[in-house]
């Protein structure tokens, strides 16, 4: 006979710990425990059975892994926190007794903790750290724009602003910005650093006030961690890019509100010759950023390059040498230009791709999008946003003195090609001849043009975005999930209107990942025309669809074949409807568990289709649902079912089964 098993001695009862038990074990205050959890990245776990984990009690509590707590128990930061507690006692005692000198010496030897080891533990490799800086960047940018008060010290805000500027400088220097989205919450930026997409949100430039129901201490603890993390990440990024970190700050310029321009990027080459070997290696691997996506894109473009008429799409940027000598930081031309040069022939003449051409392809397409242009910012546009965007894409930009000092040129500069202006058109009567002339030579565009160009990866027609015009809709470059409503789909079928076409091209972003631009542009109208053919009931509609297909550049033979196929498919789609009763009958043989799962999935599908149909407003052909749930990471709260909404669009980059993080407040 084996030993008797006692209750609560093994299994979930031992593996989990309630929060109060954890606090008791660590012998620290709840606030310290929270701080530790934030710093160490320890979060509650949901036991399979709450009763088993809590000795039969079903009271609402949070559970932590007992091992996590044991791991916290010998944390140096915890020791420092205890020391700090003792220090606080000593200090208050000294102050109460009026022993100023001892208080002073105590204060001088105040215990401070460092987070280096935590950073190293949480992010064993640099890529892990880069993957996780999204939240850190959001926080840094938020705090950089906050006013200082009793809780948020000015030095903290200054540090945040410095970190934010350093990040922007790095992104501008490496031209790694990919997507920009002007949302109602702020500006979303997406950059690709070390093959990781980093997305961050910057609020618009307004004074934010911290609401009363927000616990600032929690935010500050996070900020503490994030500052350290970003410091180390930036150090590595800067050193790998051959720059000095931290970049020296020009105080005079900073006082003149030069913003990002107050920092000087310095090459570290002269300073440390020993690191060059390591650096060149890094550049080989990382600097070129041979992402899988890029490779795919390149292969696609090579495959289609024979038939492509891509000159429309390709910005003729690459051939021109960049004239950015007057920029504050000088590009490492020895690195960049040789890469740019072979990239152009790689596109046009479909030569055998070498690894080198493969690696150099993607960056050159849009990284120097604005290089041939010089921008002037009008007074009412936000300088930090557009300075960052334009300079990230290689353009030159100037601004009036009211937007801050440090403009490289003034308004009368002859090289200005575009003026970003955001005010209604007003006819000025007393315009001098020189002004008129200038006005004629320059293009006056609204700010959205810049962002749409960036997202489209090419220079769009300025007419649509001219000053005072009603802007075309601004769409998210991040796309929606696979089955979501596509606002561009309806536009193409409707007509061949120039504006629509342009629009459609602007939003042809989702397909960018799949194939090169031109292919996407050709494929979409064809697809839609075929869909129209499938849904066409009478001859007239078929005829119209045929015309549309012809306009889209599909020859008649293929159209007929495709149309037949599509019609057959449509018929097939009808047949299952007859089978529906049969399917319903088969459902009665499902087990309870299966039925519930099925109903849940069906519910989700129905909700999504409803959402789409609500947006579509006009009834179109029945969209065939793939049915497969898009794999994605899901955040959800028990109280907020809305969070279970899926967020597709990136599904193809993810493995088939992905860890789902479901978390709930207890």
């Amino acid at each position: 006979m084996g030993r008797l098993k006692q209750k609560g001695k093994a299994g979930a009862a031992k593996a989990y710990m309630t929060r109060s038990a954890a606090v008791k074990k660590l012998q620290c205050s709840l606030a310290d425990f929270r701080r530790l959890c934030i710093l160490k990245g320890i979060f509650p776990r949901e036991p399979r059975s709450r009763k088993k984990a809590n000795k039969g009690s079903s009271a609402p509590t949070n559970f932590y892994y007992a091992k996590d707590i044991a791991y916290l128990a010998h944390e140096p930061v915890l020791r420092k926190l205890r020391e700090h507690k003792a220090f606080a006692k000593k200090l208050s005692r000294a102050l109460g007794r009026g022993e100023w000198s001892s208080a002073k010496s105590l204060e001088e030897n105040k215990p401070v903790y460092r987070l280096d080891h935590i950073i190293k533990e949480r992010y064993p490799t640099f890529v892990d750290a880069v993957r996780d800086i999204d939240d850190a960047l959001c926080m840094i940018f938020l705090f950089a724009s906050l006013p200082s008060d009793s809780k948020v010290s000015p030095s903290l805000i200054e540090n945040c602003a410095r970190l934010a500027a350093e990040w922007q400088l790095y992104v501008m220097h490496t031209h790694s910005l990919r997507k920009v989205f002007l949302s109602i919450k702020g500006v979303y930026y997406q950059a690709e650093v070390f093959d990781q997409t980093v997305t961050w949100l910057v609020p618009y430039q307004f004074t934010q006030t911290i609401p009363s129901d927000v616990d600032v201490r929690v935010m500050l603890t996070f900020l503490e961690l994030y500052q350290t993390l970003l410091g180390f990440v930036f150090f590595k990024l800067y050193t790998d890019a051959g720059l000095v970190y931290p970049p020296p700050l020009d105080v005079k310029k900073d006082e003149g509100a030069a913003g990002v321009g107050a920092f000087n990027l310095q090459e570290a080459k002269a300073a440390r010759p020993t690191t060059t070997a390591a650096k060149s290696k890094v550049v080989e691997v990382d600097g070129k950023r041979v992402s899988s996506k890029d490779v795919r894109q390149t292969i696609k473009s090579i495959a289609t390059s024979g038939s492509g008429d891509k000159d429309v799409e390709m910005p003729s940027v690459d051939a021109e040498p960049t004239n950015e000598d007057d920029e504050e930081f000088v590009e490492d031309t020895t690195e960049e230009n040789p890469e740019d040069a072979p990239s152009a022939p790689a596109f046009t003449t479909a030569t055998l791709p070498t690894l080198k051409t493969l690696s150099t392809l993607p960056q050159s397409t849009s990284a120097k999008l604005f290089a041939p242009y010089t921008f002037w910012l009008s007074r009412e546009t936000s300088r930090p946003i557009f300075e960052f965007i334009v300079r990230s894409f290689g353009g030159r930009i100037g601004w009036p003195a009211t937007s801050g000092s440090g403009s490289p040129f003034d308004e009368s500069d002859e090289s200005i090609t575009h003026v970003i202006i955001d005010r209604p058109l007003v006819q000025r009567a007393n315009e001098s001849e020189a002004e008129k002339e200038r006005r004629r030579r320059r293009k006056y565009v609204q700010p959205q043009w810049v962002v749409d160009c960036v997202n489209a990866g090419k220079i769009l027609l300025e007419d649509l975005y001219a000053q005072g015009k009603t802007l075309p809709p601004h769409l998210s470059p991040f796309g929606e999930h696979a089955e979501a409503y596509d606002p561009t789909a309806g536009l193409v079928g409707a007509g061949e209107d120039e504006e629509m076409d342009e629009d459609e091209e602007v939003e042809g972003e989702e397909d960018e990942a799949e194939g090169s631009e031109e292919e996407a542009g050709a494929a979409r109208p064809a697809k839609s025309a075929l869909k129209a053919a499938a849904s066409a009931e009478d001859d007239a509609a078929l005829r119209a669809a045929e015309l549309a297909a012809e306009a889209a550049g599909i020859d008649y033979g293929t159209f007929e074949k495709e149309a037949k196929k599509a019609q057959k498919k449509a018929k097939k789609a009808e047949a299952p409807q007859e089978d529906e009763a049969e399917q319903d009958m088969n459902k009665m043989l499902m087990s309870n568990k299966q039925r519930k799962l099925y109903e849940r999935m069906k519910y989700g599908q129905k909700k999504r289709t409803e959402e789409v149909s609500l947006l579509r407003r006009v009834p179109t052909f029945a969209c065939g649902l793939t049915g497969a749930l898009c794999s994605d990471k899901i955040w959800s709260r028990r109280s907020a079912p809305s969070r279970r909404r899926r967020n597709g669009a990136r599904s193809r980059d993810l493995p088939r089964s992905v860890l789902l993080f479901l978390y709930c407040f207890v």
Partner: protein
């Protein structure tokens, strides 16, 4: 002592100016107070410091401070005292103030003489006689007996002896009247007290009166006691430091020789500082900037990185500052969004459209959303789940298509109306050509399956509970259960040999011998010659029961028929050949709902409300109890092979039992939306059907395999709808036509329908 006194005085002098400032009263009468106090104090001080004449100036200040210390509230008394002085010296207030009365002074008056040495005037006091208690020594008490109990002299004429040894005679003491008169006449009598020693009343001195007064007022009896005397630091005060050591031990050397060890330690520290091992001024912690270095340069730890937190959802088109029009919410959507709680909202924002970027305002929930994200990061339990990536349709079991499992009933071929009366009982003849149906009005109709032609109609007095056709093929008759009777009826137009065979079975010419123990069921038959198809040839009278028998079941051989009535003991098995009825169970646990004969074995199924029991009739034993988990069993049928049992319940469940597998159901199906009323296996085709109160009949394909390994295959084939639901009642009964895949159903709407393939 003198030094101490001087100290005290100097203290007082120090205190005096401080006290003067808040007390301006003395200025009102500076002369009197100054004078009188001065005289008193001079005397006092002089007495004490006879040898030290240099301290003239303090008495005044001292005195003033004294009076003020003592009783500042007695200033009024001082005033009155001044007035009283004019009247008489004996006033009490004078005594109280003890300032001016010289007679009270225990010390003599000084004489002022010119000093021979200094040439200055000085006061010279007479020598003080060193005597015990000088106060009492000056008193001239004549009686010298000492402190003895005076009652020793009570009966003697004298009270003691004087200093010369003479008797001191007892003073005359008046009687009570004299005493009284004395108290009236003598104004001093009330301040006098009886002197034991002299045996007479003596006036109290002013001092004594003062002591009495002080005691009465709870004060210290000593007039000179100063409760608020300033502290005198006797041993540590200035000038009073201990001069002489307490012990005579010589002072140790270590008190003045510098320590060697200390020196060594200091030298050590000094060396460390010189060598830079100790930084005398460490960098201040506040200004210590975090140092960043290449933290990822060394090899990472081998363990896997903790899983990164999931990234937040990327914004969609709806979040744009200038979204397409269709994303903008309608007023209804907006109102709905505003009505829902923030945590229940589908989106945390409402899409909005701005014409220009400069018009976009700040997003007011920015910090709140950031904060929520952080709460998510550290407060929310994360559960890792593998996301199912399947087509929901793939969850539906793949079954053969119904079209490949033909034939089965698909449509209603004909319908026989029963005058809108509920038809509860139907039965199909074993050759599959005829149907009898009995309704609640007592009408039993015999009709033909293919065209529905009614051949004959019988009318009974009350409702028909059950109708059952005898399964034998050589004879042809059916049984109708009405009230307490089972009527055996021979259908009309039978061929001759069959008719005679039937008549022989039901009404044999020579009746079998009556059984040994007669049962309460009476068998009454009409002789074969007189019998016709109009009336029953044989009638069984069952024990009376409020309801007609609800079920009739034939054994497959057609000799036994079982009937089930309401109540205890309602199960009867009737044997036609022996014309004998018996109750197989004395007592059954639970109300019997249904009974069934096993098609091949001598087994008998009895369904109570919840359980199905299987008995072996030959051995009279209970074989097994099946628990379908149904609250109330409504119907039951056994597969022709005898290995499978279907049980239907009023709680919409249908249970399939594999009798060889388990006494729990192999499959439980719940597909009808209302109570199940009837289930039936087809005798030859692999089909079964169930009918329900929802008015539908479901037809299933049920293939049973001979090997014990393969599970029965159940495929839903068809839902037959066509019966109307009346009063919540649908299809009461379904029966299969034996050799055809046809179905006969009887409904509450008074219709009997035939469903053909």
């Amino acid at each position: 002592m003198a030094a101490a006194e001087a100290k005290k005085l100097s203290k007082k002098r120090k205190a005096a100016p401080e006290e003067e400032a808040p007390a301006p009263q003395p200025s009102a009468f500076p002369q009197e107070v100054g004078l009188e106090m001065g005289s008193e104090d001079e005397g006092e001080e002089g007495g004490d410091e006879s040898d030290d004449g240099e301290v003239e100036d303090f008495p005044e200040i001292d005195a003033r401070s004294d009076t003020e210390d003592e009783d500042a509230d007695e200033d009024e008394d001082d005033e009155s005292e001044d007035e009283d002085e004019v009247d008489g010296e004996e006033d009490e207030s004078e005594d109280e103030s003890d300032a001016s009365d010289d007679s009270l002074r225990p010390w003599p008056k000084p004489k002022t003489v010119i000093s021979d040495i200094t040439g200055q005037p000085k006061r010279v006091y007479p020598e003080i006689e060193p005597d015990y208690d000088s106060d009492s020594s000056t008193e001239d008490t004549p009686n010298r007996v000492g402190n003895i109990p005076m009652h020793w002299y009570d009966d003697l004429p004298h009270v003691g002896y004087d200093i010369n040894g003479k008797k001191v005679l007892r003073p005359a003491r008046g009687d009570e009247l004299d005493k009284f008169l004395k108290t009236v006449e003598d104004p001093e009598s009330w301040t006098s007290a009886f002197d034991k020693n002299m045996q007479m009343d003596k006036p109290l001195t002013a001092e004594e009166l003062d002591i009495i007064r002080r005691l009465q007022e709870n004060e210290n009896p000593d007039a000179n006691y100063d409760p608020y005397e300033p502290t005198v630091e006797w041993f540590t005060g200035k000038g009073k430091e201990e001069v002489m050591p307490l012990s005579a031990a010589p002072e140790p050397k270590r008190r003045w020789v510098p320590s060697k060890w200390e020196k060594q330690k200091v030298i050590k520290i000094v060396r460390a500082i010189r060598q830079g091992r100790i930084l005398p001024n460490k960098p201040k912690t506040a200004s210590a900037q975090p140092q960043f270095y290449a933290i990822w340069n060394e090899e990472p730890a081998t363990g896997p990185a903790p899983p990164p937190a999931p990234k937040p959802r990327l914004p969609g088109h709806a979040e744009s500052y200038n979204p397409p029009e269709e994303y903008l919410p309608t007023p209804e959507e907006r109102a709905k969004w505003e009505a829902t709680d923030p945590e229940d909202r589908e989106r945390e924002f409402l899409p909005q459209k701005y014409g220009a970027l400069r018009l976009v305002p700040a997003y007011e929930n920015f910090i709140k959303e950031r904060f929520n994200r952080q709460l998510d990061l550290y407060l929310a339990p994360r559960v890792q789940r593998v996301k199912l990536q399947i087509d929901p349709e793939s969850l539906i079991p793949k079954l053969p298509s119904p079209s490949s499992l033909r034939p089965f009933p698909m449509y209603k071929s004909l319908q026989v109306p029963h005058d809108e009366v509920r038809v509860r009982a139907i039965s199909v003849s074993p050759d599959g050509a005829w149907v009898v149906s009995g309704d609640e009005s007592g009408v039993v109709r015999l009709w033909e399956v293919i065209v529905g032609k009614e051949v004959k109609r019988w009318k009974f007095k009350s409702k028909v509970g059950a109708v059952e056709w005898c399964p034998r093929t050589d004879v042809s008759f059916f049984v109708v259960a009405v009230e307490d009777h089972l009527h055996f009826i021979i259908p009309p137009n039978l061929p001759g040999p069959v008719l005679t065979a039937t008549q022989n079975v039901l009404a044999p010419a020579n009746l079998p011998p009556p059984p040994a123990n007669p049962s309460p069921v009476k068998w009454n038959s009409v002789p074969a010659a007189q019998s016709s198809s109009d009336s029953p040839i044989l009638t069984l009278n069952l024990p009376s029961s409020p309801e007609p028998p609800k079920q009739l079941v034939w054994h497959r051989k057609g000799d036994y028929v079982a009937s089930v009535s309401e109540g205890q003991g309602g199960v009867w098995i009737h044997q036609v050949s022996r014309r004998h009825s018996q109750a197989p169970f004395k007592k059954v646990k639970g109300a019997v709902q249904l009974v069934l004969f096993h098609p091949t074995k001598p087994h008998f199924f009895v369904a109570t409300q919840r359980y199905v029991r299987m008995y072996n009739l030959a051995e009279q034993t209970l074989l097994k109890t099946l628990t379908p988990g149904i609250r109330w069993i409504s119907s039951m049928d056994v597969h022709p092979s005898g290995d499978h049992l279907l049980v239907g319940g009023y709680d919409r469940k249908l249970c399939w039992f594999d009798l060889e597998l388990s006494d729990k159901p192999y499959k439980i199906l719940r597909y009808h939306s209302r109570a199940l009323r009837s289930v039936a296996f087809h005798p030859t085709y692999p089909l079964f059907a169930s009918s329900s109160d929802d008015g539908s009949i479901q037809v299933f394909h049920a293939r049973v395999y001979n090997d014990l390994m393969t599970n029965p295959l159940i495929v839903p084939l068809k839902i037959l709808r066509g019966h109307a639901v009346r009063d919540g009642l649908g299809v009461f009964s379904v029966r299969w036509v034996p050799r055809q895949p046809w179905l006969v159903s009887a409904g509450a709407d008074g219709q009997v329908a035939v469903w053909c393939s």
